[in-house]
């Protein structure tokens, strides 16, 4: 067994429907799967762009180098670049599994709102009594009232899925 988690990262992309747009989305989907007990291979720490796993990032990079994961980079309208990850095999996933349901719901979300939701969950588990307030304070530019409301709505939607470790009631 190698230290690279190639099958694990491709498994996340597959269960999210076979395509994940954006490195941030991939990280936050993986974090939400981890915190709900549906994934246990990656460690996450707090960065200013929310929960982040260096091992996930490097595994995705290596998986693309050896052709297990396709990564296409495109220019954004705002001057940055973003990646789209795709894998084969999404046509045979079990859509009734909670892992697939959570991943495929999270991956559809706006990436900024997904980042806000994942950050609030992370801060809750880091001991913050009011994680939304702390999220808004930390992510000043991203936390417009509309985005925060949408992030809360997203989390409420994800809470409907019956996962092994429930998302916090925040």
């Amino acid at each position: 067994m190698s230290s690279f988690l190639i099958d694990e990262v491709t498994g996340i992309v597959r269960d999210a429907g076979g395509s994940v747009v954006g490195r941030t989305r991939l990280q936050k989907v993986a974090y939400l799967l981890t915190v709900t007990g549906l994934e246990n291979n990656f460690q996450f720490s707090y960065k200013h762009y929310g929960p982040f796993s260096e091992q996930l990032a490097s595994s995705a990079h290596l998986a693309s180098l050896i052709g297990k994961l396709r990564e296409r980079q495109d220019q954004t309208a705002w001057g940055g670049t973003y990646s789209t990850y795709t894998v084969d095999g999404a046509d045979v996933i079990d859509h009734s599994s909670v892992r697939v349901r959570l991943a495929s719901e999270a991956v559809k979300a706006d990436s900024i709102e997904l980042e806000l939701a994942a950050t609030a969950v992370f801060l809750f588990f880091d001991g913050y009594a009011n994680p939304w307030e702390e999220t808004a304070r930390r992510k000043f530019e991203k936390s417009t009232p509309q985005r925060l409301a949408n992030a809360q709505a997203l989390l409420n939607k994800l809470k409907q899925i019956d996962v092994p470790k429930p998302l916090p009631q925040i």
């Binding site: 230290s3 190639i6 747009v21 707090y46 960065k47 260096e54 940055g80 000043f140």
Partner: protein, 390 residues
């Protein structure tokens, strides 16, 4: 900071926060800095993460008491600026940007301390030509807004080229030097083993006394005082004791570090490149094949090591890369470029103005380390490389 004042006017509060943040941002590093972080990642030790440790020390420790003399919220403001939390102002660029104080300092300091003569930068000219610009930031495909940061004026393009080149060259020659990385690999294995043995209750095999800082940390890795007690000298001082350990790995690897009997390095990427693209054409297909081969070789070597696991690792793999611009972990965008203000006032990436910078490719290393005496493992390594290249 004078540049910030000239451009933005004085904001004494933010200036003091930025100065304090620049001074204390690395205070949480453990022994041998990033090598200790590798140990933490393998064992899930939160306080081996220097960012986490710095944050705790600044907000709550002895350091916090001093910072709080500047005002009740000062320590938290300093910690927030280091973590890039809260509203981003130009003062954040002093602490984190392509031209932050840390980078401008360590480039010159590391060059001096290692005795290297390359990678010199024209700091005076760079600073004289630093300007302020608003650059867009985003998350994946969505834009969030803009942040103020440092850009350079058109007269400093050559100085910026030298800056990018210099930083880029420090990686293969100093930070990624094969001997340095080889020593870090041995250090990481040694520390992982110490912590694992102590946590499983086998202190007698380690050979350190009950009150040794490494023992205390291994038993209570979540306690700030035990993490704070670790530094380079603690590890150096432990090595003679570890040489007498009954654990083969600890005895051998402590001796290797203490007496500089480092593992020998085989540069896999050089070997693979020589076989696949001997004339170094850098054709896209060849580059892809080299990358694929290198990753597959590393995976197979790690699998071989696992399958033949003994008391002491027989090979240690190493893989890293460095882009010409220093990249963060988030979405790539203009904050991760060197932005040049043109005569017309537009901001463009330095790569668009500099053929030298645009020609730079990502520096990648793929290496394996082994004992000089272990000729059998060299045969295994050669067979795996040759098998993969075919």
């Amino acid at each position: 900071m004078k540049i910030v004042q000239q451009k933005e006017g004085s904001n004494e509060s933010r200036e003091k926060i930025a100065l304090a943040a620049a001074m204390v941002h690395d205070v949480g590093h453990g022994p041998f800095s990033h090598a200790f972080e590798t140990v933490g990642k393998r064992l899930g030790l939160k306080l081996a993460d220097h960012e986490k440790m710095s944050d705790m020390l600044i907000r709550d420790g002895e350091l916090a008491d001093i910072l709080k003399e500047m005002g009740s919220g000062f320590a938290n403001d300093v910690a927030d600026m280091i973590k890039k939390d809260g509203k981003q102002t130009l003062h954040n660029a002093v602490v984190s940007s392509q031209f932050d104080a840390d980078r401008l300092d360590y480039m010159r300091r590391d060059r001096m301390m290692t005795g290297s003569q390359h990678s010199a930068i024209d700091l005076t000219w760079l600073l004289a030509n630093l300007e302020i610009g608003d650059v867009p930031v985003g998350v994946d495909e969505a834009q969030v807004g803009t942040v103020p940061t440092f850009v350079i004026g058109p007269k400093a393009i050559q100085a910026a080229e030298a800056y990018v080149m210099g930083l880029f060259q420090l990686y293969p020659t100093i930070y990624f030097h094969k001997a340095t990385r080889g020593a870090e690999k041995v250090f990481a294995e040694l520390l992982v083993r110490i912590v694992e043995l102590i946590q499983e209750g086998s202190l007698a095999r380690v050979g350190l006394p009950e009150n040794h800082p490494l023992v205390k940390f291994s038993r209570n890795p979540e306690t700030i005082d035990t993490a704070l007690a670790l530094d380079d000298t603690v590890v150096w001082g432990a090595l003679p004791l570890l040489q007498e350990s009954s654990d083969p790995l600890l005895a051998e690897f402590s001796d290797r570090l203490l007496n500089r009997k480092l593992f020998k390095c085989i540069d896999i990427r050089t070997r693979v490149t020589h076989k696949i693209d001997p004339k170094n054409t850098r054709a896209e297909q060849a580059v892809d094949k080299i990358d694929r081969c290198c990753v597959n070789v590393i995976i197979k070597l790690q699998e071989w090591e696992q399958a033949n696991k003994g008391d002491v690792p027989r090979l240690l793999t190493d893989q890293a890369e460095r882009k010409p611009y220093k990249a963060g972990g988030g979405t790539s965008g203009p904050t991760e470029q060197i932005n040049v203000r043109t005569d017309g006032g537009a901001l463009i990436d330095l790569k668009q103005r500099s053929e030298v910078v645009s020609a730079l490719s990502v520096f990648k290393l793929t290496r394996v380390y082994h004992s000089r005496k272990d000729t059998a493992v060299v045969t295994v390594i050669n067979e795996i490389i040759d098998g993969e290249v075919k």
